[in-house]
Each structure stands twice: as C-alpha cells, then as structure tokens.
C-alpha cells in the first residue's frame, strides 16, 4: 500500500517534471513575429527575429535590399528533411536551386525556418540538435532558424514542409507555395520568382499549391 502510494507520487512528479521541463525549454526571449500578421502577395512580409542553430538572432530586416527565399523545413519530413532519399535536400534540388539562384542574383539569400516543436512535441533545444544533425547529413549550409512557438509559421500561413516564400528587397512577398513540381527537371517556382524580381518583371505564378508534410501550429 505504501509503495503504491509512492508510485502515485512518482507519477505525479513525473507529470510535474514533464510540465517543468517544457516550461524551462520555452520560447527564446528574442523570438518575435511582428505586424503584418498575415502574409499576402504584394504586401510587406511579416517581420521576424529568430535564433539560428548557433543561438544567434537573425531578422528578416537584416537582409533589407536583398531577395530572400524562405523554405519551411522539418528534419523528419520525407519531403524536406533527412528521413528520405526523396526530399528536396536529399535529391539535390535545393543545391541546384541555390546554384542557379546565385547565378541570377548573387545577393539573394536562402533561409530555412523550422516550426516543428509542436508537431514533434520536442523543445526548441532538442529541435536545434536535430536540425544540426540533419544539416550535417544533408549538407545544408544555409541558416536554419528555429520558430520555437510557431508564431512565424502562423504569421506566414506556412502549411507544409517545404512551403516556400520569396520576398523582394523591399520586403514585399512576391511568391508563396510549392518548391517545385516534384521533379528534378521540372519547374522550380522560387527560382522563377527570383529571376523575375531581378529582371524587374511580374512574378508568375505568385502561388502554386504547396505539398508535403503538414506544419502544426495549434
């Protein structure tokens, strides 16, 4: 009876520890997504400041004057992460994009944002570790930013990994949606957008339905 009572106490403590560790592994104080709170083509993209894998804050405003391509990333998603040989990184499609993008616009910037804390039910610290491993395995050199409380995913309406957003040098959202048509030879939509922005022409298409793993923000 006494031992049973102790087991109950241990269970309660486990629950408390669980809650405690979750609270400890909370949202970094520097993270924020600021107005506007929704991403809309032709409108200023939501500003944000997020931590990279080294714990350094990175803001969208750091890249003012440059075209920024953002890819929503999840290390365990077979379309974007390292768990499948068919992801956009495993197949080299991101490397091809980066090479072609730099030829078109050497100043263009590629960022990855990971909002998987709620989906994977892990702390931002654990997600950072997993992303570092995935980056090493996949040879990702672009910054990976941790969206600890998923507020940036909410602000952008990021639905999948990979869901891609292209923002011009004025901070205006010019494209959002699919990374490509899922083939190495096919159309890469963010590259098209970067080319159009560089040429000063209209971005077409501005939206192609995104595909991939869902992003959990609620």
């Amino acid at each position: 009876m006494r031992f049973n009572t102790f087991l109950s106490v241990a269970t309660v403590m486990t629950a408390l520890c669980w809650a405690g560790t979750t609270a400890i592994a909370g949202v970094p104080a520097t993270q924020k997504a600021t107005a506007p709170t929704t991403a809309e083509i032709g409108k200023p993209a939501p500003a944000f400041t997020l931590m990279d894998l080294e714990g350094k804050p990175v803001s969208l405003s750091d890249f003012k004057g440059k075209t920024v391509v953002i890819e929503w990333f999840c290390p365990t998603c077979p379309f974007s992460g390292s768990s499948s040989a068919r992801s956009i990184h495993s197949t080299g499609r991101v490397k091809t994009l980066l090479k072609n993008m730099k030829e078109v616009d050497p100043d263009a910037v590629y960022l990855l944002i990971d909002s998987s804390t709620k989906k994977l039910r892990i702390s931002p610290e654990e997600l950072t570790k997993r992303d570092a491993k995935a980056a090493e395995k996949l040879g990702i050199t672009a910054p990976i930013l941790i969206d600890a409380d998923t507020s940036v995913a909410k602000a952008y309406g990021a639905r999948t990994t990979p869901h891609v957003f292209v923002i011009d040098g004025e901070g205006v959202l010019r494209y959002q949606g699919a990374f490509d048509d899922r083939t190495a030879e096919g159309t890469n939509y963010p590259l098209n957008a970067v080319k159009a922005i560089k040429a000063g022409t209209k971005v077409e298409p501005t939206y192609v339905r995104q595909w991939g793993c869902g992003v959990k923000t609620g």
Binding site: M1, R2, T5, F6, V9, A10, T11, M13, T14, A15, L16, C17, W18, G20, T21, T22, A25, T76, C77, P78, F79, S84, R86, K119, L120, R121, I122, S123, E126, G157, R159, T160, K202, E204, P205, T206, Y207, V208, R209, Q210, W211, G212, C213, G214, V215, K216, G218
Partner: protein
Amino acid sequence: MPPDPFRQFRSVPPWLLRMLCGWAVAVGMLASSAPADDPPGSGNDLVTVRVVSDVQALTPGGRFTLGVQYTIKPGWHLYWRNAGASGMPPTVDVLAPDGFEVGKPVFPRPMIFGSGADTTYGYEDTLLLMIPMTCPAQLSSSEIRFELTLDWVVCKVACLIGEATKTLHLPVAPAGREGVIDPRGARLIEQWEKRVPRSIPAGDRPGGFSARLTDRNHLVLKGVAGAATSALYIPGGTPGVSPTVPGPISGVLANGTFIFDIPMSIVPEDALGEPLRVNGLVLLGTYERPRAIELNLPINDAKPVIEESGG
C-alpha cells in the same frame, strides 16, 4: 485531531524518497524530450496494396477497370486528388502494351480532416482508385501484362512515403467470345464506384442543378438536396481558381434544395498554363452513404459569367 495526510510517507526512508524522486525526474525529462510517436520506417509499413480487375479476360476494343486497393493502418490516412493544406495524392502509373488507353485514376469521395486553413481531404482504413482502361481493336498476344508503379504519402502527425510495383496478367478471351467478368474484382469496383462523385460536364443539364459564376466572381450553386441534412463544397484544387475561404464551405439547405454562394479567387497568372476552370465537389449525405456532385466548369476570360442550369 484531523488525520495526518502524509502519515503513509513518514515511514519511508529518505534515501528511497530521493531515489524515487530522481527516477521520476529522469522519466519526466525523457518523456519531455521523446517524440510524439516513433513512426515506422516507410509508408510501406503502413499501407498494403493490391491490384484487381473487373474482368478475367480481355476482348479487342473492350473496356475494363483496374483497381488499386490500399489498406491503411488505423490512424493513418492517404489523400484525395486535392490533398488540401498539406499532403499529396497517391500516384498510379500504368505501363500497358501499345494501343491500350489508360485513363486517369478516379478518386472516390474523400473524408475531411481538420478544419479551416489546415483542412485536408483523404481516406482512412481503405481506398480503391479506379483506372478506366480500353483495349485496342486488335489483341495479338494471348496474355497481356500490366505493370503498375504506385507511390503514396501516408500521414498521421508524421508523413511517410510508400512505393510499390505491381504486375497483373490478364488473358485474352478466345476470338468470338465475350470477356469474362471477374466477380470478386467487379463487386469491389462496383462498391467503390458508388462513392465516385456524379460528374456534371459542361453543357449537361441534370435535373435541378445549376452553377453560375457571377461577375463579382461568386460561385452560386443550387440543386436538389433531397433528405440530406448538410451540404458542403470542397475545392478540387485547380490552379488559379480557389474559394477565398479555406476549408469546406457549408451550403444553405431550404425546402429540399441546397444553395451555395462562394466568393472565388481567380488569378489567371497562377493557372500554370492550364485553362481556368472551377472544379470541386458538392458533398451531400455521409461518407458511408455518399452522394456527391462534381463540378467542372470552364471560365471564359472574355465573358466571366457562366451559367448552367437544369430543369
């Protein structure tokens, strides 16, 4: 004197208390860092596939249906042709000898997962995709080999990719003989055909159904609801054309009819070179007792008002 609530603990040695507390802390920390669920290694662990046909033998010029049956582990799901906010539909590539016509996979009415901007459409437990086939006018060999390359994404919280290649050999019926129905395959395909939305092709005038796109880009749908207690519209995901409101849209039921008034976003530059068209399903009844209407209306750039009406 009130009873001591901690009386039972007072006889426990402090070292045991500390050990158990340490154990509890360790368990707590492990639990907080563990993933929600460790998914299986591949989508093949979660979905089994088999290929069926509604005929046992082929005849020259004859039509038949191939069915790809997916059996899905509980809790996981596959996707409709418009997956919705995330996911991806299964793909089926049929390799058939020259002269065979291979149709596009026909998707039955989907289920609705989630809500609002996170809504996805798909199938739990089981799915049969149907591929309409037509034989050439002449069949020279006595047996025909079909190779199906299958690819799917199966999701719960995590998503996994599955793939398989299946072959099916069907004999050719002797000259002058009818093709023989495969009773089991035909029965299965017939059951799933009942779940396929009834198509409303342009120009058709089925009783009581009308679809109109107003000059303010509102899609107005009217039709007979019968005994249905709800009516939902879900978009087919055609590029460049989508409702401005995400997720399924509820229609109004009144006097045995349904009415939808859906504001649409029409962006020609997002059409990926395809003709602009409104495509979607009106869902009546339930998933188990389905009734669904497929809407497929072209949008005329020059004259953005289209109208189809039935009696």
